[in-house]
Symmetry: C2
Subunit: 95 residues, 2 copies
DNA sequence: GACATATTTGCACAAATACGCAAATATCAC
DNA sequence: GTGATATTTGCGTATTTGTGCAAATATGTC
């Protein structure tokens, strides 16, 4: 793994490595359909602006995908992408 | 996954989600035998005190294991533990 | 248009974090 | 013991980060 890939992976892990963000991801895990921020807000007791920022970070790192839906913006997990990246790291670590 | 487990997992991901720490882990990936801090130091251009602190974080999170060896302390990856935790998260995310 | 709802953004602030340097500590070799 | 090597710790600092609040923006309904 070269330096650029390591940087990218570290950014992904950092995005997942914050409690409220991980809680958002776990919440989205349970959802079959994309959810808006207000709904996701319920899983972590922070201001909606904070949720908005966390979701932005997760979107930047490709963890979640955003879709405009009227006045809402609904988010869904990029399940395969994230899972594959985690498994790739797991494989490399296990050697 | 309950709140305590989420906290623990977030801490692990945070430990892995810093570039220099991830570099240390990747360096240890390549090593068959446990390595001391001086050797690991070469993979990330920071002070040895910084490497020491990073290794301490990784040890606290169970990523690496430390063993005293004379005046050195040698570190090795807890390969299976870390890999399994990452795969568990991957599985949950993939649903 | 007015109003409500959903989300983002600007701002300030406190806490966490990564860092380098120097000193302290530990352990080896002599 | 002295000196060399490996590591940790204390301290100061600059940066990042998570947060809440209020204002701004966007889009729906009436």
């Amino acid at each position: 793994m070269d330096e650029a890939q390591r940087h990218e992976l570290a950014d992904l892990l950092k995005a997942l490595g914050e409690f409220n963000r991980l809680s958002l991801v776990c919440e989205l895990c349970e959802c079959e359909t994309p959810q808006n921020a207000m709904c996701l807000c319920s899983c972590c007791s922070v201001d909606s602006s904070v949720v908005s920022r966390h979701l932005k970070v997760l979107a930047q790192e490709g963890v979640v995908q955003m879709e405009k839906k009227g006045r809402e913006r609904v988010y869904s997990l990029n399940r395969n992408d994230v899972a594959n990246k985690l498994r790739l790291l797991a494989d490399q670590i296990e050697g």
